[in-house]
Amino acid sequence: MTLLAPTGSGQAPPAPPAARSGRHRLLPYLLLLPGAAWLLIFFGVPLVQLAAASLYDPGGSLSTGYALTWAFGNYPDVVQAYWPQFLRSFGYAGLALVLALLLGYPLAYAIAQKAGRWKNLLLVCVVAPMFTSFLVRTLAWKTILSDNGALVGLLRDVHLLAPDGRLLATPFAVVLGLTYNFLPFLVLPLYASLERLDYRLLEAATDLYASPVQAFRRVTLPLSMPGLVAGTLLFFIPASGDYINAELLGTPNEYMIGNVIDSAFLVRLDYPQGAALSFLLMAAILAVVFGYLRRAGTEEVL
């Protein structure tokens, strides 16, 4: 919530005393200058550079140099070549989001409303996975889902999995990894919203003969909307751009768009293609985010 609401707490600071206004008028700009310059030069300018690179002549190469030929044809080319990976990225991220909501909502609700004095401890447990390295944690799933592991053995024994069935190197493993890695980003804003929920409203709903399901749908859910919207965005944006899970837990059949972009820039050294894919990814995510915000009707979150 706080992450997505930089303007939220913008109550106007009191006007500076008139006597020193000359100095004070410059001061905020001096304070902002180094940080803003850093962000402009190393965040803003590169985006322009990326856009330019996506329009480079696809015939060039890193050694002979690229010419900016406004080759808009790069975009249809990459869509044609890599639309399955694009669809897969959003499909896996969407599936992981649904799973994360099913797991994360009860967790956030329990911590906010039921945990009492254990609240802080449980919150630490939610953030605890982030205390250790992302890659090392993801590799741990390789051990958990391993063909010789206890989990696969159990599932084979109860015939949920064929005798030669496996979990690792399947879409399931990738979605599970995505869900796991980004779940805290969903739970924390959701918790912040649910924590402010007044329990008496639920009691009032029950007094007025609402069933638990009705009370949830008409009271809890609408009141947790800001946290829900912020949480789903904080989950979905990194999940759809992730390629670590697909690489470590999947096979090339599970590759997402990130894997393609990584290899375009670092292996095949095809900059125009990589840049066009990156730009498309950003456009697609922005489209999803704004479409979703409009539907959710909480535009003030931004």
Partner: protein
């Protein structure tokens, strides 16, 4: 009947604990694997208990070099990002100026942009400007994505601060600098420390942006990525476990200090309250 009633009352908590178990499982596995002697370089299964990995964490020296490099980069990036971000937070909370909306967007956008896009766009910039990639391009990239998180964290602390304390200091003839040094800074410091810790952990753990801007420099996450193809030395899990333990220790210490401070406040308030409670 009674069992189903009990379940109906507590199912949310039960689900929550199961989910926490799902979140904790990989950490337990990492800790367990740090005591493992793997049967082969490419095996991820638990084979045999050993203390060797903890006794010789630097048996593969590349890995320890990478850890040291990550700490160096994290340290420099944290210092720079914390200074830049704190200045920006002060400007945003304490001053009224033209262009506030634009600055807010500039701070917000890096947090909403996929890392992949930030990494590739910086790469495009460095390549077209002919900047050789390595240690310093990683630092630049890390400062860039940490600044926004510092601003948000420090801003939250500043916005919740009681300005009357500063006004009181000024009324008592403290100069502007004295007020800042003796009142403002100590009150904002917890926010700045929290922001710095956040920045360090973001920097230390970053893979995607680093991967595009590292050249041949190897940080710890990049070492793990490369090793995943060649075979992971079990010492990687030692580092993972140690990181976790240190972070947990920091959280524990800070919550202990917070509790002690609260208790001290209560004790300090008690003598003043006592006469009022005992009218004789």
């Amino acid at each position: 009947m009674r069992v189903s009633r009990w379940l109906a009352d507590r199912w949310v908590m039960i689900v929550a604990l199961l989910v926490l178990g799902y979140l904790a499982l990989p950490i337990l596995v990492v800790a367990g694997l740090s005591f493992n002697r793997p049967s082969s370089r490419l095996s991820y299964d638990f084979n045999e208990f050993t203390l060797d990995n903890w006794r010789q964490p630097c048996a593969t020296s590349d890995m320890c070099d990478a850890v040291v490099r990550s700490v160096q980069i994290g340290f420099i990036a944290t210092v720079v990002a914390t200074v830049l971000g704190t200045l920006m937070a002060f400007a945003l909370v304490r001053h009224r100026f033209r262009g506030r909306a634009g600055i807010n967007v500039l701070i917000f956008l890096p947090m909403a942009t996929p890392e992949l896009v930030m990494g590739t766009s910086l790469l495009a910039l460095f390549v077209s400007a002919g900047v050789p990639q390595g240690f310093w391009t990683i630092v630049i990239a890390h400062v860039m994505f940490c600044v926004s998180f510092v601003v948000v964290t420090v801003k939250a602390r500043l916005a919740g601060m009681d300005r009357r304390l500063e006004e009181a200091a000024m009324d008592l003839y403290a100069s502007e600098w004295q007020t800042f040094r003796r009142i403002t800074l100590p009150l904002v410091l917890p926010g700045i420390v929290a922001a710095a810790l956040l920045a360090f952990s973001l920097s230390f753990d970053d893979f995607i942006i680093t991967n595009f801007n590292a050249g041949t420099t190897v940080t710890f996450p990049m070492y793990v990525w490369g090793a995943a193809q060649r075979g992971i030395p079990p010492q990687v899990n030692v580092i993972g476990t140690a990181m976790f333990a240190i972070a947990l220790l920091l959280v524990g210490l800070s919550s202990l200090r917070g509790r002690r401070a609260r208790r001290a406040n209560l004790l300090a308030a008690a003598p003043a309250a006592r006469p009022a409670r005992r009218p004789s």
